[in-house]
Amino acid sequence: MSILLDSSTRVLVQGITGRDGAFHTRQMLDYGTTIVGGVTPGKGGQQTETGLPVFDSVQEAVAATGATASVIYVPAKFAAAAVKEAALAKLALIVCITEGIPVLDMVEVYHTVAAQGARLIGPNCPGIISPGQAKIGIMPGAIHLPGRVGVISRSGTLTYEIVHALTQHGIGQSTCIGVGGDPIVGSSFRDLLPLYEADPGTDAVVLVGEIGGDEEEQTAKLIAAQISKPVFAYIVGQTAPEGKRMGHAGAIVSGGAGTAESKIKALNEAGVPVAGTIDELAATVQANLGG
């Protein structure tokens, strides 16, 4: 079992003829994802080298393929419009990989997506994978192991590192999601945790946070009130200086807010153990689940 994505999810690729889009379409197909077509405005009617039909618009693609999800690899300047197009075409799941989208563009798009009832993951994220079934995004499939632990993270490569450690410890994953490193993302930890709580295929959740904002603090409150499954956490950026953006636009400590200390304290108070290292995190999960 898994959340949001399984082997029957029918996926469109927006930006399928671009370099990244083409490369990752092949990777996703190899992993077993059901990709039904792609969208690149002006290239409708063509076929990709992987034999997939290309459409001019998401709406046409949905009508022709019955797609229910979309993944976006289009450049930052056009990515917000691409998300909006996918939401208006009534896709249930939209995953936006693109990094560098102006934040105010996302303000408008976020509310459009919400009004359409769609689920947006990202932007600036590695995507979502339900190991052994399907992946939508850019993560290396081989490091994952099918299993019963959910992973949600604000990071990309750090998520791989943590999944790799879990797999090495024999802990398989139900669904792993990188929510994205931007200040405004479609789905927060708080949006996703209840889905794991309701998923009979998930026994516990690993939460990977980082400095900036107050999402981890707010999530701690939600965990204390609503989540009965065990949650294990890891927070990066303890050594980050104030006022500097650490790569991710969202990862910045400002005015004493958004520090790692504050997040660790809030999570501990909600009964969530916060590991000091990645190995410790994996070992803690293993010890608690008897994996």
Binding site: L104, P126, H164, D182, Q238, T239, G256, T277
Partner: protein, 380 residues
């Protein structure tokens, strides 16, 4: 991206927010001339990109050109939080301030919008007001770029508790809101917004930060960038597609991904070392990036060892290994290097490095410990 107070004032004026007469200068003699032209009381204000200028002595209110020149001499000789003062702003300060308020707009991550923060208690650190007397802060959210006329009007009269100020305060709120959206800001604040004895509502000081992701469509904002205030290495890194932040330690870090780069810094500190920098080489496999990253790390004389930590996803470990080998041919690398490769094509990467004196560590933790030992001179 940040700008100076004088630049913020110019943007305020452009958006119909009243600001006091002012002139930017770089010498005490020009301050003397400006103070003579304005006459009477003037404020002399250091223009640097750091908070706490006033507390550091970078702002002086004086009477007459002689006193202005003396104050400017002192301020221009100052260094505030490691930044030498190069420019001072002379601000005409004739009117008496009756009341001080705070007016700000911030990007609100939780609300997924832009939130107004208003307070009748201005002129001080708004974070302190929020912490100590939260009832003095009025917040309201906006979720689109339509100015919230009704809500703003309801708040406008409360800032100075004076009906006569509703229209000018409302104009300032509208101006700030339009400026925020037009220029892709992440923060725009007027502090203090004052009511003076002439009944005018004036922005005495302000701060504006911009969304780096939107700079591609804001050439006028980019033109405001003060190169003297930016870390040269950080700017150069940005031009080459690297994300870099200078720190104080002695272990140079080269990592792919922001989260993993932070985790690497944290782990170095956990095991008793100190990171010299944050450096994310990004998701590309271009060997030139590795060469640039080496140049950047080696330009820091404090760096005693370099730790390369790569978890391949989009980035292929064999490409990174080729970049490392190419770097050795193109530049002189005279400090110990510890390399950890994992993920996509890690084995191919390790094989490329196998015939060289470069050693690869088995795990993240092992690599960090080895780098710390190298930096301490315990291992070569």
């Amino acid at each position: 991206m940040k700008i100076h107070e004088y630049q913020a004032k110019e943007l305020f004026a452009e958006y119909g927010i009243q600001v006091p007469p002012h002139r930017l200068t770089t010498t005490a003699e020009d301050v003397f001339a400006a103070a003579s032209d304005f006459g009477g009381t003037v404020a002399i204000k250091a223009q640097v990109h750091v908070g706490g200028r006033g507390k550091a002595g970078g702002i002086k209110v004086v009477d007459g050109p002689e006193a202005a020149r003396a104050a400017a001499d002192r301020i221009l000789a100052m260094t505030i939080k490691d930044i030498p003062v190069r420019k001072v702003l002379v601000v005409e300060s004739h009117a008496e301030i009756m009341r001080e308020a705070y007016l700000g707009l911030i990007l609100d991550r939780s609300a997924k919008g832009v939130t107004f923060i208003c307070s009748a208690a201005g002129g001080v650190d708004i974070e302190e007001v929020a912490a100590n007397t939260p009832d003095q802060i009025i917040r309201f959210q906006t979720l689109s770029r339509d100015f919230p006329e009704a809500e703003a009007r309801a708040v406008a009269g409360k800032l100075f508790n004076d009906e006569a100020t509703i229209e000018p305060v409302l104009a300032a709120m509208r101006g700030l809101f339009e400026l925020f959206w037009d220029k892709d800001c992440s923060l725009a604040e007027i502090n203090p917004l004052v009511l003076n004895d002439r009944g005018e509502v004036v922005a005495l000081d302000g701060k504006i930060n911009f969304d780096d992701n939107a700079l591609f469509r804001q050439p006028e904002v980019v033109a405001l960038r003060d190169m003297d205030e930016e870390d040269r290495n950080e700017l150069e890194a940005k031009e080459k597609g690297l994300s870099f932040v200078q720190l104080d330690g002695d272990i140079g870090c080269m990592v792919n991904g922001a989260g993993l780069a932070m985790a690497t810094m944290d782990m170095i500190q956990l095991y008793g070392g100190t990171p010299a920098n944050f450096l994310d080489v990004g998701g590309s496999s271009n060997p030139d990036k590795v060469v640039h990253a080496f140049e950047l790390l080696l330009s820091n004389p404090k760096v005693k060892a370099i730790l390369i930590n790569i978890f391949g996803g989009i980035t292929r470990c064999d490409d990174i290994a080729r970049g490392i080998l190419e770097s050795y041919q193109r530049i002189e690398i005279n400090r110990p290097i510890v390399i950890r490769l994992s993920g996509t094509n890690a084995e191919e990467g390790r094989q490329l490095l196998a015939g060289t004196p470069l050693e690869t560590a088995d795990s993240f933790a092992a690599a960090v410990k080895q780098a710390i030992a190298c930096a301490k001179g315990e291992q070569k």
